[in-house]
Assembly symmetry: C2
Homo-oligomer: 250 residues x 2
């Protein structure tokens, strides 16, 4: 038997609050609908489409992106298992960007009603969903800072640091090792540089003994060092049990 559907989501939300077993069950039930699969490099939803439900990533990595008229493409966000993509976006009539699958992605689409029902479970769940979308927004802001102020090496290091912390939050890291199913071209589109330059920066991080990365196998050899290079401050991820004050269980 496999992990419950909301396994990764619950792992993440645990950084904000502590749920009762009933709440956990209810969340798992809500997320237990029939899973959809997007094949690698296909879109889950495309710019211009009318938003359907809210995708919850169960397995695999997805990404949001936007394409300019002349073909330049920017990856706006990365989504890991447990991520809710755009929790309230269904209010808008048209997607202003696309969501694609980096790897094969298993996901469920939560309906508006399902989200509302979850929120109605009580203030803990309600606020946890809020926290989710607020942290998503905070990540987006940090990406803005990253692109605006950091140089290439810092930008790349920062992205690696963020991914490490986020993967850790959903229990997908083994010490400092994890899978990063991104190509250097993907990294280029996420960090606003050319693939060639990403390659040079990756070499630089390798030669400084900060990372090991071959195929999908990634390891931070010196996380503190990597954070220093990136000037990474994880506060924006709001993973530090912010919501303990809401915790009815102790």
């Amino acid at each position: 038997m496999s992990a419950p559907p909301a396994h990764r989501l619950l792992a993440r939300l645990r950084h904000f609050t502590v749920f009762s077993p009933e709440e956990r069950n209810a969340i798992n039930t809500a997320c237990g609908g029939s899973a959809l699969v997007a094949r690698q490099r296909r879109d889950l939803i495309r710019e211009g489409d009318r938003p359907r439900g809210v995708p919850l990533i169960l397995e695999g990595w997805a990404f949001r992106y936007k394409t300019l008229e002349d073909g330049r493409r920017q990856i706006i966000a990365l989504h890991l298992p447990g991520d809710l993509c755009d929790i309230h976006g269904s209010i808008l009539r048209k997607m202003d960007h696309s969501i694609g699958a980096l790897t094969q992605v298993r996901y469920v689409e939560l309906t508006r009603d399902q989200i509302d029902d979850l929120a109605a479970l009580g203030p803990r769940v309600h606020q946890a969903l809020w926290w989710d979308s607020l942290t998503t927004a905070a990540i987006q802001r940090e990406w803005t800072v990253n692109l605006g102020q950091r140089d290439a090496l810092e930008r790349l290091s920062h992205l690696f640091c963020e991914l490490i912390f986020r993967l850790r939050a959903v229990g997908m890291i083994d010490g400092l090792r994890c899978e990063i199913p991104l190509t250097q071209t993907d990294l280029a589109e996420a960090t606003g540089m050319t693939p060639v330059h990403v390659n040079r920066m990756v070499q630089e991080l390798r030669s400084r003994q900060l990372i090991r990365w071959k195929g999908r196998e990634f390891e931070a050899l010196d996380l503190d060092g990597l954070c220093d290079v990136a000037m990474f401050n994880p506060a924006y991820l709001h993973l530090d049990h912010e919501g303990r004050h809401l915790d009815a269980l102790g």
Copy 2:
């Protein structure tokens, strides 16, 4: 007598839905608390602070920013009159960035309860508040694209285009003329370039007869041309009466 407090906010929300007179009154009442004033170049709230209420800008321009350890600073967002800053941010314990006043800013701080009361007025208001925070997120995404993919001239043009559309949405533009109370250094911090280079790009836009800008007086001499340079597509602002389907009044 002066304009009702939610004047600009209502002007903006009108792009999403149409309110009944009762709803409008209720919104104005909620926003009618005693206004606060932030002096020019002072902070409304600072990174690390506990969020208080949700600032609603009544007059003046504000900006969100984040500072790196070494002093580099990125302006993450600009806020015009009628903007609600971070409508649900009060759930988080600590601000991960600061909000400052570009000009003198008059604003009110809406409490969590006031927001909840507004949302309880009915689905139109509730969804309009949602729409507000979704468009804020969409703008943040577009800034990510802007910083990641566009070159200096495009970036600057794009920001001008966005400001024109947003100012128009709150009725603060006269044809193609408006006030832009930003210094070139502010623009530099918003677009991730140096003030010197902003200056050169401004000159370039002037010499192409696309803009006039002296002091605070700004005019787009050729908005289509400016949009072309920027590859500006206003869809992300979601100003096209998306919510007419929610409109009970016709």
